[in-house]
């Protein structure tokens, strides 16, 4: 049976067909739909959102030790969080096959960097597969499980945004059995203290060395001879782009891209006149090809930054400029916080208190955009609290108003330890937890604070205020961000407190059914509007400024924040 699936849906299908019975993940674009699909489509597989990627990989490792086939899923920067277990896991004995899916984001569509996670395969000395279509995403997932069990190693399945979020036709197969868990003890292979790990290190060196021959023989690495004038070594979606641009060229299509098939590369290089390595981001394969003493083109002409496409590859290889024509200068349309977003009122309250606002990863990062211009830093998950503590400590008490904002899901991901540090080390910053009861940016996933599992089942209810107090924070207050005037006073009071303070800004995301906004648009009385632009300062896409007056468009959901701030009282209607 054929079905049209995204790469992410195909990976979930592949896990099902391979007999995977345990999947863990933290949401992150472009990886999120993999676990969501497992949860929605394959009820026999255990699925869980974990608070962060380190937890995701470690629980999967436990499942593997118990004999189950398993998969841990994350976006590229999530692997950084999971890097600690990742570096030692290959030393240990793998029972059930374990696959780590890393979804990279060339072009930074929804990320803070565009790191190339293929380096992790080499770094951790584990094999890596790179699918180039949805069909391959499914097939390679199955192959990854097989390789994991055959060689006793974790396997990295690496996708990019254009694999994860592109759709293609996939031939579905049947589930090929699974494994029955059983309790075993392997202390010499599972207790990684120095004496044991020292013995295991040569095992992984020998394993990855022996896999070079496997890579040469693997059906995932194939030579497709066309014209011998141009030979292209490529992997992932870059292979599809190159094939589109040069349908008559010869290709070495690499699917198992670590360890590389060295003999096959030598054979291919000997058969073609001009050799190119076409890959997105870093010269990962190119440098290894050159280390074999083979001369080739690659990043001398192809960009290191951003994603590729057929036109970029064509112009790099032919030397002709891409025919992209003249583009009119149109007003840009960057993403923005939704009309009625509860973050807007709290960011405004902080800004009116003249705070420096250390930010974090989430929708609120978009509060950086003018006119709100309310976010001053954004580095990685959980960094904002620590930025604020570091800065406030350097300035000393009462000198500068330093605050941090962090979403609820991000707080559970990696904010708790930062807040613990802040309290322990006698910090004084104001931390605002923007609790919208979901992981909003990635499309509304549940998390440990929502009391709901990935399959919609009720689970323990976490009491955020009590958690914050337990970490050692004395001044804690839950605030309604739609009541902006009160929020502004609460921020002022929190800043005046000697010592650390936490405001929990609590209102459900406006995209959730539980939202607290009426959903009907407000109106502006043009006779009363003075054109003062206070409401425009909120940066709400629903408020337009034309002919020296504010106008509210139909995207308004009636949250009423602008009406509260309108001194002449020109904004009315629903509230």
């Amino acid at each position: 049976m054929k079905k049209i699936l995204s790469g992410n849906e195909a990976i979930a299908r592949g896990a099902f067909e391979a007999g995977v019975s345990f999947v863990s993940a933290y949401p992150g674009t472009p990886s999120t739909e993999i676990l969501q699909t497992v949860a929605d489509e394959y009820p026999e597989i255990h699925a869980e959102w974990t608070p962060n990627e380190k937890v995701a990989l470690e629980v999967a490792a436990g499942a593997s030790y118990a004999g189950a086939r398993c998969m841990a899923v994350m976006k590229h920067v999530g692997v950084n969080v999971a890097a600690d277990p990742l570096m030692t896991l290959p030393y240990t004995l793998i029972r059930g096959g374990i696959v780590l899916v890393s979804a990279d984001d060339p072009e930074l569509f929804s990320s803070q960097n565009e790191q190339d996670n293929r380096h992790y395969a080499r770094f951790a000395k584990i094999p890596m597969l790179e699918p180039s279509t949805s069909q391959e995403a499914k097939d390679f997932m199955i192959e990854a499980v097989r390789i994991s069990e055959e060689f006793g190693t974790p396997v990295l399945l690496r996708t990019t945004t254009r694999i994860s979020h592109s759709m293609g036709v996939v031939e579905l197969g049947d589930k090929k059995g699974g494994r029955t868990p059983s309790l075993e003890r392997h202390p010499a292979e599972w207790v990684m203290l120095p004496a044991n790990a020292r013995v295991r290190h040569p095992v992984i060196e020998e394993r990855i060395r022996s896999m070079k021959a496997y890579s040469d023989a693997s059906p995932l690495n194939v030579i497709e001879m066309g014209s011998p004038k141009l030979g292209i070594i490529s992997s992932g979606v870059a292979y599809q782009y190159a094939k589109e641009a040069f349908p008559d060229a010869s290709f070495l299509k690499v699917g198992l891209s670590y360890p590389l098939p060295e003999k096959l590369i030598r054979k291919f290089a000997a058969q073609v006149e001009e050799l190119w390595v076409v890959e997105e981001l870093d010269p990962f394969m190119e440098e290894q090809v050159k280390a074999l003493g083979i001369d080739c083109h690659g990043k001398d002409r192809l960009p290191l930054c951003g994603e590729l496409n057929p036109d970029i590859i064509q112009s790099a290889i032919t030397g002709a400029a891409p025919d992209d024509g003249a583009q009119p200068d149109l007003p840009p349309r960057p993403p923005s916080m939704c009309p009625g977003c509860p973050h807007r009122g709290m960011l405004w309250a902080l800004k009116r208190n003249k705070c420096f606002i250390a930010g974090d990863i989430g929708c609120y990062t978009l509060g950086f955009l003018p006119p709100l211009s309310a976010i001053d830093t954004c580095l990685c998950m959980g960094a904002g609290i620590n930025h604020a503590h570091g800065m406030a400590t350097v300035f000393g008490p009462g000198k500068e108003k330093i605050a941090a904002v962090i979403g609820d899901s991000t707080f559970y991901h990696s904010g708790i330890t930062g807040l613990l540090n802040l309290a322990y080390n006698k910090g004084a910053a104001l931390i605002v937890i923007l609790d919208n009861s979901t992981t909003a940016m990635t499309g509304s996933q549940d998390h440990p604070g929502t009391g709901i599992t990935v399959r919609g089942e009720r689970t323990v209810n976490l009491d955020l205020e009590n958690l914050v107090r337990a970490l050692g924070i004395e001044w804690v207050r839950t605030v309604d961000p739609y009541d902006v005037k009160q929020a502004r006073k609460d921020v002022k009071e929190a800043l005046a407190f000697e010592g650390p303070s936490v405001i929990i800004s609590k209102a459900p995301c406006v995209l959730l059914k539980s939202r607290k906004v009426p959903g009907r648009a407000l109106t502006v009385d043009a006779d009363v509007c003075t054109g003062c632009k206070v409401c425009i300062g909120l940066g709400c896409p629903a408020i337009e400024f034309r002919d020296e007056k504010a106008h509210i468009n139909e995207t308004c959901v009636g949250c009423g924040v602008c009406a509260d701030l309108c001194a002449p009282g020109a904004i009315g209607g629903e509230k």
């Binding site: 049209i4 929804s110 599809q240 349908p247 840009p332 896409p541 400024f545």
Partner: protein, 189 residues
């Protein structure tokens, strides 16, 4: 055949391109489709590439190869001119959503038709949003525009209803089929 759908996050472009892909796969084509999810979708520009043929390599349409552009918003129709083939068919929903620079009053909302005319004379403005409003279903603009697009495609009308019935929950099927029919009545030949 290469179809580009453009518009603003939240307009239902992904579902419309999913349906087009489904219909073409069921009609025997190889289909590839690519778009961006996540942060970019929060009210930002959205673009979905749909390609179908006997065999498709790249999920992205090469520059100058787009046969049909379906834009859910007027300004967004001109943001990706480099993809358009000479004399491509351009279908534009008559709907203007002000981007931030227009919201704040620092720039005017541009008339994009002259830019498009340099590439093609085959431009059709359709009242998709007005019909959606008339039907009291603002979120239904995507299915209306898909109805418009369907008249340019080979598969029979029934193939589209099969896809709608298999992809949508029962309680919203009737409204979507109604919207699709309204779109299909618009003549753009």
């Amino acid at each position: 055949m290469n179809v580009l759908m453009t518009g603003v996050g939240g307009q239902g472009i992904i579902l419309a391109s999913d349906m087009l892909s489904e219909v073409m796969m069921r009609s025997g084509y190889d289909v590839k489709k690519s778009e961006i999810h996540g942060m970019a979708q929060r009210g930002g520009s959205v673009m979905s590439h749909v390609r179908f043929a006997g065999h498709v390599d790249s999920p992205l349409i090469p520059y100058g190869c787009c046969d049909i552009l379906l834009s859910f918003e007027e300004l967004e129709a001109a943001r990706y001119l480099k993809y358009l083939k000479k004399d491509a068919t351009v279908i534009i929903n008559q709907y203007r959503l002000a981007p931030p620079a227009v919201v704040s009053g620092s720039r005017a909302y541009p008339d994009v038709i002259p830019f498009l005319r340099e590439k093609t004379r085959n431009i059709h403005l359709v009242p998709g949003s007005a019909i959606a409003e008339e039907m009291d279903n603002a979120r239904g603009v995507n299915i209306i525009l898909l109805g418009v697009l369907s008249t340019l495609m080979d598969p029979p009308e029934s193939a589209w209803y099969d896809a709608i019935n298999s992809m949508l929950k029962e309680k919203i099927r009737a409204a979507n089929i109604e919207g699709f029919k309204r779109g299909r009545q618009i003549q753009i030949q």
